[in-house]
């Protein structure tokens, strides 16, 4: 017999029950997430003249712009082991996936305010649906990237097999930050705007458009940036570079996992308070 009990007591006063509900919500999220993902996907592209071709146009445009910049020799930020356009393209695509992952939870939930105040759907479903979109965009970027690798004759190594792990870590890091900021972000508008600004600044402190600096003040900041090892290792694995990641990579991964689970559970605790305060 399904028994439901509501009281003003904090959820953590019954931790086992709280975790059980969390796992149950995850389980029922899957079909809902699929429906939502499908709906967003179809709805987004059905209204376009070019339809599903639009999936490839943004990464293609990015690639062509950077290749043009390189060949016109406007930008020179240092020599790289692999051809510069590939270096940048890989970095930019990885960065875009990362930023999408960071903004995904907050954006999905803010966008679905009218749903979460009226239907009792697990919020995890909304985030998973958003994750589906991220993966799809990533796939499109990888296809364009591989075309570029082929064009520039960059060899692919066996460490390509580690790429899925690397990408998972990239997305996990992004989402864990995103979920951490979501409770406050649902209440205060500043957070979403602030994320944009911080990410823009972080872009320049990550070795995306320039090779890793060896000395100088910026070298210190780049080496302290937790995203550096993530982007770097992913780039290496995708373009046949170094196999072994730095120690910092493992540190970032471990911290991300911890942040992810605690942020998720923290959000679940905050959920009823968020629902009662946000306007639908």
């Amino acid at each position: 017999m399904n028994q439901i009990y509501y009281s003003p007591q904090p959820e953590l006063s019954e931790p086992k029950h709280f975790l059980k509900l969390a796992l149950l919500d995850l389980k029922i999220s899957k079909p809902i997430a699929w429906q939502l993902f499908r709906k967003n996907f179809i709805s987004q592209y059905r209204q376009n003249f070019l339809g599903y071709l639009w999936i490839f146009l943004p990464p293609l445009a990015t690639a062509l712009i950077w290749i043009f910049l390189f060949y016109s020799k406007i930008i020179y930020l240092g020599s790289t082991e692999i051809p510069y356009p590939i270096y940048v393209l890989t970095g930019v695509f990885l960065w875009q996936t990362f930023t999408e992952s960071v903004t995904c939870p907050l954006q999905q939930l803010l966008f679905s305010k009218h749903l979460i105040t009226k239907f009792k759907i697990p919020h995890e479903a909304l985030v998973i649906a958003g994750l589906g979109a991220i993966l799809f965009n990533l796939l499109a970027r990888l296809i364009i990237l591989f075309l570029g690798l082929f064009y520039f004759q960059v060899g692919l190594g066996w460490n390509l097999l580690l790429a899925p792990i690397g990408l998972a870590v990239l997305i996990l890091t992004g989402i864990s930050i995103g979920v951490l900021l979501t409770p406050l972000g649902m209440l205060y508008q500043d957070i979403l705007n602030g994320i944009g600004i911080v990410l823009n600044a972080l872009f320049f402190l990550t070795p995306i458009i320039y090779p890793i600096p060896q000395n100088g003040a910026i070298s210190r900041m780049v080496s302290l940036n937790p995203l550096t090892p993530i982007i770097n290792s992913n780039r290496n694995w995708l373009t046949g570079g170094e196999l072994m990641p730095d120690l910092s990579f493992f540190i970032v991964v471990s911290v991300s996992i911890i942040v992810f689970f605690s942020s998720w559970l923290f959000y679940r605790l905050a959920k009823p308070y968020i629902i009662e305060r946000i306007s639908s």
Partner: protein, 416 residues
């Protein structure tokens, strides 16, 4: 089921508070969230006490519902009904009390919110069904039934943005109508569409109830309340002021509405209005020709006393009699012979021979208008409170019979 004798839902002393000010409300939200993770003795907060700027949306509501019973939550706008429903559904946490539900729950809170206009009706059925919590395998099975119920077979593959609002409501309701939880929460939308479809919706709810489901309905519609719910609670000023059958609760609700009306009425006829219009009705009197009280079958006179600051030609006027819940216009009449009104005080009057109304309390509305434009010059009861009046009768068997069935008019019959 082993727990058949236990109530399917028991609500004990449930309260919910909100904050009036937006910024403060957000700050309280942050504090409440932090309190969830810290040990309770670090920053203790008694949830049953109001902080600055807070008010009780719902206070100390208790009731129990057994399997198969249905309850209506009745009250004015702002009395806390929808808040209570959201707490019961589990969208928000109560601030005091506890709620125990033995079974599965479902809710119909708003229709069509999950719709994506670009997608077809078919695609939207799947989305709405998953939002309402239908398990995946069930949705496909129910699909044909849902489409049949909505009567939208012809347009099911058209994008929803081309549907009328009635069609959207029917589609959304058809999905929700197939929910079969143990307790169903319905916020206002028990029936949508034209009268035929509404009847279908109500029958559907009755069928669900006969199969053992319980409904908790928030509604303003007395017909829905009376046909679907046996019990009712009245929320007044955010507390539960009455708990009884749905009919008794409705009665209490309308009596309270009426006492508000009549208390307004007594002052509005005596005090002068702040804005002086050219024609002002000062007093409306409905009095019996003979005796002290207006009686069924007896003559009475209606007098409308006015003050005019200018003269009017081509004036027409009339009266209108309504049920005490202000929902049904029982009867009325208009004098279309143009009269003229001179400035100063005056009176319009008419005789009502053999008052046809059965014993009860009614509302009287008056309108004085201009013949040419048919626009009102002065009125009572149309934009302000009507006059309440009682019709009485000598208590005897016939008269008690007439009164018992809530009949409105007594027709004169010559028995043969």
């Amino acid at each position: 089921m082993s727990e058949d004798n236990q109530p399917v839902i028991s609500v004990k002393n449930v309260s919910k508070k909100y904050c009036r000010e937006f910024n403060r409300s957000l700050r309280y939200a942050v504090k409440d969230i932090i309190r969830e993770i810290l040990p309770s003795n670090l920053f203790p907060h008694n949830k049953s006490v109001l902080r600055d700027g807070e008010f009780w949306s719902v206070k100390d509501v208790s009731f129990e519902l057994n399997r198969g019973e249905s309850l209506a939550i009745i009250g004015e706008n702002g009395a806390g009904k929808s808040t209570l429903l959201k707490v019961l559904y589990g969208l928000i946490k109560p601030d005091t009390g506890e709620i125990r539900i033995r079974g599965r729950i479902g809710a119909i809170i708003e229709l069509g919110e999950g719709f994506d206009p670009v997608l077809t009706g078919r695609e939207n059925i799947f989305i709405t069904a998953s939002l309402l919590g239908f398990p995946k395998n069930q949705i496909q099975k129910l699909f044909d039934e849902v489409v049949a119920f909505s009567e939208l077979e012809a347009v099911i593959d058209t994008p929803v943005q081309f549907y009328s609002s009635g069609m959207k409501a029917r589609l959304a309701f058809s999905v929700a109508a197939h929910l079969k939880p143990d307790v169903l929460f319905v916020d206002e939308v028990l029936a949508v569409g034209d009268l035929d479809f509404q009847r279908k919706c109500v029958n559907r709810m009755l069928k669900y109830r006969s199969e053992g489901g319980s409904i908790i309905l928030v509604s303003h519609n007395p017909n829905h309340i009376q046909s679907v719910c046996q019990r009712g609670i009245l929320l007044e000023n955010n507390v539960c002021s009455f708990d009884g059958t749905s009919i008794e609760t409705l009665d209490r609700y309308f009596k309270n509405q009426l006492s508000k009306i009549s208390s307004y009425n007594k002052t509005s006829n005596e005090e002068s209005l702040p804005v002086r219009k050219p024609l002002n009705i000062e007093q409306v009197v409905l009095e019996p020709i003979q005796g002290e009280t207006i009686q069924t079958g007896e003559d009475c006179r209606l007098r409308v006393k006015y003050v005019a600051t200018e003269s009017f030609e081509n004036v027409i006027w009339g009266l209108s009699i309504w049920t005490h819940d202000n929902l049904v216009n029982i009867s009325g009449n208009y004098d279309l012979t143009p009269q003229s009104i001179q400035s100063g005080k005056g009176e319009l009057s008419c005789l009502i021979p053999a008052m046809p109304l059965s014993p009860g309390t009614y509302l009287l509305k008056i309108a004085i208008g201009d013949m040419a434009s048919l626009l009102p010059l002065a009125s009572v009861g149309w934009v302000d409170m009507p006059l309440e009046f009682k019709v009485e009768i000598e208590p005897n068997l016939l008269n008690n019979l007439l009164h018992l069935n809530n009949q409105l008019m007594t027709i004169s019959v010559r028995w043969e």
